[in-house]
Structures are given as structure tokens and as C-alpha cells.
């Protein structure tokens, strides 16, 4: 039995790490979404974090903790700088501006000497351990729970529901949007740093348009009613391709089909608390 477990763990530990990192990315985009911001820049922030942390380890020989901290700090600073002019935009226009920003970041990775161009950075040492990911997730979840029951969480939600009304309540919406954007970037950056240190390698194509959309998909798929939904959704989307491996050539097609079915039958996402409540009532009645 323990042998089986060992084999299972040896086989799937990277998948477990990946699920953890995806959950972090989901939280990062949930944070911006919870403030009504549709950002497609989180993949770019993840990339900045991954490259920064990897270079800190490879070139500067910094300890992992400091490398991760830098990997969170730099995306946060970049988010601060681009957030100030960008966050005036709303809805799809913000999404497109951040998409444009993401493409610029990707091209910069492709052309800088220090980032290794399209060859990326390889030979990044394996530093990430399960407890790192779990610990950070626990801290984040705790933070989200605290935030939810505070004036800051309420300000985010007010801005999401009605920005003009939120302003009329004395909320400095610009700063709160910037706060959500920057915190989201920091979380994405740390997730990127963790990812870089268990996959040995980073390259620009991991942080382009498709990954940006994937992060958003995980969050919406899970349901944005609470921070649990995005984590569940992105975890499912990370595991699904492995579960469908037996389908061979058609596994991604089935993956798409499942996505469609969930959207049609659970339009508020998988983690729909209102639906749960309804089911519970039905069950007890």
C-alpha cells in the first residue's frame, strides 16, 4: 500500500504542484475580478515573477525565499506603474489593454539577452516543495477570508457592483482598483516563481495570450461567487487532461466538450453556493 502511494506520489507530485500553482493564479485573477477588473495581464505578471525568481537563483545565487520575494515584488511594481494609467479603462477595453501589455512583455522576454530569448532559461534548480505551496495557499486563503469581512473586501465588491455608487460612498475607487491589481500581480508573480523552481525551465511562450485566457477560464469555470470557485475550477482544468489521457487523440476535444456542458448546465460555475443551497433545501424537503 505504501509502495503504491510512493509510486503515485512520485508520478503525480508535479501535477499536485501544478494544481497548487494554478489555484494561486486563480486567486490572483479572482482578486482583480472581485474588484470588477477584467485583466488578461496575470499571465504576464506570472512570467515576470518566474523570470525574476529564476534569475535571482541562477545569476545572483539568492536563497529561494528571497528569490520568491523578488518574484512577487517586481510584478507588483510593474503593475503599479502600468495600473495607474490603465485602470481608467473598464470591461473588455481593460482586458485588451492588459492583453496588449502582456504581448509586449512576451516580446521583451523574447528579445532580451538576460532572459535567453525563445530558448528561455534552463537548469533552474528544483527548490519548490509541497509545503511551500501549501503554506502560501493557506496564507492566501486566510487573507481572502479576512479581506471578505473587512471594509476593503466590501469596497472591492461595491466597486464591482456599481463603481459610481461606490464613489458616492466615499470609496477612493482608483486606489482600491490599483490595490487589487497590484496584489493580484504579486500573487501571480509568486506563483510564477514557484512554478519556475519545479519545472527547471521557463520560456516566453508560457506567458502569452493562451495562458492568459486559461487563467481566466479556470476562474470563471469554477464560479466567481467566492474565492473557492476559481480555485476549484482551475484545479479541475489542470487535472482534467491527465484524467482524460486514455482518450488519446481526442482528449482535448473531450476537454472542450466538458467545458461546454458545464457552462450550459452550471452557468454560474461549478462552485455555485446558491445552487448548493437550493439543492440542500430540496434534499431536506
Amino acid at each position: 500500500m505504501t509502495d503504491d502511494l510512493q509510486v503515485f506520489w512520485a508520478t503525480y507530485n508535479t501535477l499536485v504542484y501544478t494544481v497548487g500553482v494554478h489555484a494561486m493564479l486563480a486567486l490572483s485573477i479572482y482578486l482583480t475580478l472581485s474588484c470588477g477588473l477584467l485583466s488578461l495581464g496575470n499571465a504576464a505578471f506570472m512570467g515576470i515573477g518566474a523570470y525574476t525568481a529564476a534569475l535571482a537563483t541562477l545569476r545572483l545565487g539568492l536563497p529561494f525565499g528571497e528569490a520568491l520575494a523578488l518574484g512577487g515584488l517586481l510584478p507588483g511594481l510593474v503593475a503599479l506603474v502600468i495600473g495607474i494609467p490603465t485602470l481608467r479603462l473598464s470591461g473588455v477595453y481593460l482586458a485588451m489593454a492588459t492583453l496588449g501589455f502582456g504581448e509586449v512583455v512576451r516580446v521583451v522576454f523574447l528579445n532580451l539577452e538576460i532572459t535567453g530569448g525563445s530558448m528561455g532559461l534552463n537548469g533552474i534548480p528544483m527548490k519548490t516543495q509541497l509545503w511551500h505551496i501549501v503554506a502560501i495557499l493557506v496564507v492566501l486563503v486566510y487573507g481572502f477570508v479576512r479581506l471578505r469581512r473587512s471594509k476593503i473586501g466590501r469596497a472591492f465588491e461595491a466597486i464591482k457592483e456599481d463603481e459610481t455608487a461606490a464613489k458616492a460612498m466615499g470609496i477612493n475607487t482608483t486606489s482600491y482598483k490599483l490595490l487589487a491589481f497590484v496584489l493580484g500581480a504579486i500573487i501571480a508573480g509568486v506563483a510564477g516563481g514557484l512554478n519556475a523552481h519545479f519545472t527547471f525551465f521557463v520560456s516566453p511562450r508560457e506567458y502569452g495570450f493562451d495562458p492568459a485566457v486559461d487563467i481566466l477560464t479556470g476562474a470563471i469555470f469554477g464560479g466567481t461567487g467566492s474565492f473557492v470557485g476559481p480555485m476549484v475550477g482551475s484545479a479541475i482544468l489542470a487535472i482534467l487532461p491527465e484524467l482524460l489521457r486514455f482518450l488519446k487523440a481526442f482528449r482535448l476535444a473531450v476537454n472542450g466538450l466538458i467545458l461546454i456542458l458545464v457552462v450550459i448546465y452550471l452557468p454560474n460555475g461549478i462552485w455555485d453556493r446558491k445552487l448548493f443551497a437550493r439543492l440542500r433545501r430540496k434534499g431536506s424537503a
Binding site: 479581506l147 461595491a158 460612498m169 466615499g170
Partner: protein, 251 residues
């Protein structure tokens, strides 16, 4: 208390407000009336900083409000409700009101994340105050349900409670009786009077003449962006220009 001086607003070539000036004295209910499109809501948006005026100033006491962003105007002491109800539908009533208290809860991000005593103390104080405000408008029994499920009239009241939570010196109320039946309107009049008695200065936009005349100590009349009359209800009722603007209506 609230001084409006020469306020002008143009949209393209259209002059929506033209050199409007009046003063709202402290402690009274001041009515702002006028036909549709007279510029009443625009005036509110100018006072609260949602729109920028072309010329003119707004003062609250000695403080210049013109040019401040909306949240600073609110912090300076202007609370408002909206004509087309803008409550936060997916939050509970309590949360709605506590959003209004945003600037008066004294703790920060660190306090929240580290669960400092300041957070707990202030949240508790906030919750108690929010319940008190809800009880002013007899909504306290519904404090923990989602605001979206309230009736229309209740939503209007919730907006009032939420605006009060910003601890305003002047409360701007935009057509509170719109869409209400006579009984509801009656109840609302009582509640606004109550609020006024608690020492709030109120600036009220209303269509319902009966409500305005019954409630307000002073009234300003706007027509096509121009202030055509200002005075006590009795003067306004006899003003020929006002009668003409409201031609056919029982003033």
C-alpha cells in the same frame, strides 16, 4: 451650509445648467423641483463631483468642493441617493450600509490581515451603527438578507440608510418617491422628516408636488437649466413663472 454659486454645465453645445446659484441653510429640508430635463440630476452630479462643471463653485461650509473627486466630496460631508436606485444588490443590507461607513471605520489592510484588535473593535462599532441606521428606516429586521431581494420601496429606503452611513452634513435625495404608491410615499415622508429632525440638512429632488410642498421649508425651481424661482413653498406656489413651467399641473 451648502452654497452653489454660478454653476454652469454644457454638454456639447447644449447648456444644461446656466449660472445656477442658491444656498441651502443648515438643518432644513430644501426642495429642488422642475420639469423633466430641467437639469436637477445634473446639478446633483456636479455637486458630488461625478460631473465636472464648466464654471461656478460649490462650497460646503467653508470648504470648496468644486474639483474634488467624488469620494472626497462624500468624505467632506455630502451623502446622496440615486434616481435609479443603485444599491449593491448582491450584498446584504448590513453590508450595504457598512460600505457607506467605509471612511469612518478606522483600520487598514494590515489591521485586517493581522486580525488586529482595531479591526474587530471598529467592525463591531460599524455593525452596531449600521443596525441603528437600518432601524431608523425600519429595515433592521431584514439586515442579513440580500439587498436585491428587497421590494422597490425598501430598496429606496436602503439607499437612504446607506447614504446616512457616510455621516453626511448634507444629504442629497434624488426623487425618493418615484415609483411608490401613495401609502409608501406617506411613510417615506414621515421617515425623511424624522431624518431631518435628527439634525441632517437635506437637499431633495422631487416630482411629487404634494411631497415637496408638505416637506420642504425652502424650494428652488429649475427650468431648462435656469433657476427661475427660489423661496418658501407659499411664494413658489404663487410664482407665475413656476406656474407656467408646470402649466396644467396642480401646483
Amino acid at each position: 451650509m451648502l452654497r452653489i454659486n454660478g454653476l454652469t454645465k454644457q454638454f456639447g453645445g447644449l447648456r444644461v445648467l446656466d449660472e445656477v446659484s442658491f444656498q441651502v441653510p443648515e438643518g432644513i429640508i430644501y426642495g429642488l423641483i422642475g420639469p423633466n430635463g430641467a437639469g436637477k440630476t445634473t446639478l446633483f452630479n456636479l455637486i458630488t463631483g461625478i460631473l465636472k462643471s464648466n464654471t461656478g463653485t460649490v462650497h460646503l461650509g467653508d470648504e470648496l468642493l468644486t474639483g474634488l473627486p467624488p469620494h472626497r466630496v462624500t468624505q467632506a460631508g455630502i451623502g446622496r441617493t440615486f434616481q435609479n436606485i443603485r444599491i449593491f444588490r448582491e450584498m446584504t443590507l448590513l453590508e450595504n450600509v457598512m460600505v457607506g461607513m467605509h471612511d469612518h471605520l478606522r483600520y487598514g489592510l494590515a489591521g485586517t490581515l493581522l486580525a488586529l484588535p482595531s479591526h474587530r473593535r471598529e467592525e463591531k462599532r460599524g455593525r452596531e451603527r449600521a443596525r441603528e441606521l437600518l432601524s431608523w428606516l425600519s429595515l433592521d429586521t431584514k439586515a442579513t438578507i440580500e439587498a436585491g431581494s428587497l421590494s422597490y420601496g425598501e430598496q429606496r429606503k436602503l439607499e437612504l440608510a446607506r447614504a446616512l452611513a457616510t455621516e453626511p452634513k448634507v444629504l442629497l435625495i434624488d426623487e425618493p418617491a418615484a415609483g411608490m404608491n401613495p401609502a409608501e410615499t406617506e411613510e417615506l415622508m414621515g421617515e425623511i422628516t424624522c431624518i431631518s429632525r435628527r439634525g441632517y440638512t437635506i437637499l431633495l429632488i422631487e416630482h411629487d408636488m404634494r411631497l415637496v410642498m408638505g416637506l420642504c421649508q425652502r424650494i428652488a425651481v429649475l427650468n431648462f437649466g435656469v433657476l427661475i424661482a427660489e423661496g418658501a413653498p407659499a411664494e413658489i406656489r404663487c410664482n407665475p413663472e413656476v406656474v407656467e413651467a408646470y402649466l396644467g399641473k396642480d401646483v
